[in-house]
């Protein structure tokens, strides 16, 4: 239990560092702003209590806000992901998955399932994040386009990172 706790903390720090030091510096275009830190929420075990997932997602949002001087913005967006994840998993996962207490990953659930799951929740996260950031409908379509392109990029990065870990696990 304690080991698990430290494993999550290490993973959280690692993901935040990757987001801040690598992904945030990509800056290809103002339309491509990938946020991959929600992979932490996506890969929590399916049997984890929903309230704990909600608290953890608000916490990772708070960390992101701290480092990007946007009080409340990432917190609101990742909170939505944390809450709706449990909803989605309750009918997208079989009883067997819950009994085995798996953590959703590309290796366990397959490419199509995982990509769709990531796409859906990333889209939710980015929609909330980008519209809250601009906080007006005056740039509705421009923001919409920004959401779509950033989502595609985020999903791409998340899936590629999963492929890397997938190979590691197979070789063990």
């Amino acid at each position: 239990m304690i080991i698990d706790f430290f494993k999550y903390i290490a993973k959280l720090i690692f993901i935040i560092l990757i987001q801040l030091l690598v992904i945030n510096n990509i800056e290809l275009n103002t339309y491509i702003n990938p946020y991959i830190y929600i992979i932490f929420i996506l890969t929590l075990p399916v049997t984890m209590k929903p309230w704990l997932v909600v608290i953890l997602s608000f916490f990772i949002g708070l960390l992101m806000d701290t480092f990007s001087s946007t009080p409340g913005l990432h917190m609101a967006a990742s909170g939505f992901v944390g809450y709706f994840r449990s909803f989605y998993l309750s009918f997208a996962c079989s009883k067997e998955d819950f009994e085995k207490q798996i953590a959703p990953s590309l290796a366990k659930k397959g490419f199509a399932w995982f990509t769709f799951y990531t796409l859906l929740l990333t889209l939710l996260h980015h929609t909330v994040l980008f519209y809250l950031e601009i906080y007006s409908l005056s740039e509705f379509f421009r923001t919409f386009f920004r959401i779509l392109s950033s989502t595609l990029f985020s999903v791409l990065i998340i899936v590629i990172s999963q492929l890397l870990f997938y190979r590691n696990k197979e070789s063990r």
């Binding site: 030091l21 945030n24 990509i26 800056e27 290809l28 275009n29 103002t30 491509i32 702003n33 929903p50 309230w51 909600v54 608290i55 608000f58 949002g61 806000d65 701290t66 480092f67 990007s68 001087s69 946007t70 009080p71 409340g72 913005l73 917190m75 609101a76 909170g79 939505f80 944390g82 809450y83 449990s86 980008f130 809250l132 950031e133 601009i134 906080y135 007006s136 740039e139 421009r142 923001t143 920004r146």
Partner: protein, 277 residues
């Protein structure tokens, strides 16, 4: 009562989610400076320290460009020095200057964190309250304007960059003093747009855009950029002006924070007017 407890028990996840969501919305839209500043004061020192560590290692890569821009600035300042002018008179008397009183002071600072790709960009610098920086001060680079200070901790400050939806800077066309508001539309960090310039004002490309005399944050006439393209939409009373910014935000390293010594006085006078009507 039992039902109420049962209700809370059944929906505690939703209630937790809702409360936290409400909390983040309150923090997010409290555009009251105090609230925002207090959040950033708690979290900002920690984050800025982290960014400074990262920055101190990555800083070396850009030294050549920084040197070049500082040399250029030195040359420009040297040419403005008194000994660069030919003296046209015989006598020189030193008097206590009562005609010119210093209004603006400049505090130099280094950028420790910056972004240009987001819709709302923020910059962190390594000078703070101890160095005399307060919220709502203007910030410039050696080429042009940079942004406005939003919150300050002991050793660091956060700047709302000109590349931010909430930053509006009062500017004017230099040749005819037609004023407008500089706002970024989020497309390209090299360009911004100047809004609310009346359509009867004659314009041409490459006209200089400078800060206006209405701004309390910037001295009048600081370079901002030049007109890149302009047009008038049918039925619109204003020009649509695309301004090419002089400041290159993606390589920003050294900035100057401007302290307006008379700002308090001017604000007090203008606040008196508000109660007048």
């Amino acid at each position: 009562m039992r039902n109420l407890i049962f209700f809370f028990y059944k929906y505690y996840t939703f209630i937790l989610f809702f409360t936290l969501e409400l909390f983040s919305f309150v923090v997010l839209y409290q555009y009251n400076h105090y609230q925002r500043a207090s959040f950033l004061n708690v979290t900002g020192g920690f984050a800025s320290g982290f960014y400074e560590t990262v920055n101190s290692t990555t800083n070396y890569f850009g030294l050549r460009n920084i040197n070049d821009s500082l040399m250029a600035e030195n040359a420009r300042l040297r040419s403005q020095m008194l000994n660069a002018y030919y003296q046209n008179g015989f006598t020189q008397t030193s008097i206590n200057d009562t005609l010119y009183k210093q209004q603006y002071e400049y505090i130099s600072a280094n950028v420790v964190n910056n972004s240009v790709g987001k819709r709302n960009n923020y910059i962190t610098i390594d000078k703070g309250r101890l160095h005399g920086i307060k919220p709502d001060m203007g910030v410039i680079s050696s080429n042009g304007i940079v942004g406005i200070v939003t919150s300050v901790s002991e050793h660091f400050s956060t700047i709302r960059s000109a590349l931010n939806a909430n930053t509006k800077i009062s500017c004017m066309i230099q040749k005819n003093n037609a004023f407008g508001s500089l706002e970024w539309n989020g497309d390209n960090p090299k360009f911004s747009s100047l809004k609310y310039v009346n359509k009867h004002v004659p314009l041409s490309t490459n006209d200089e855009v400078v800060t206006s005399n209405f701004s309390m944050l910037f001295p009048q006439g600081l370079p901002v950029g030049k007109v890149y393209a302009h047009s008038i939409d049918a039925g619109d009373n204003f020009h649509a002006i695309k301004v090419e910014l002089y400041t290159d935000f993606s390589t920003l390293k050294n900035v100057y924070v401007i302290r307006n010594i008379f700002k308090g006085e001017q604000e007090m006078l203008q606040n008196n007017l508000k109660g007048d009507h």
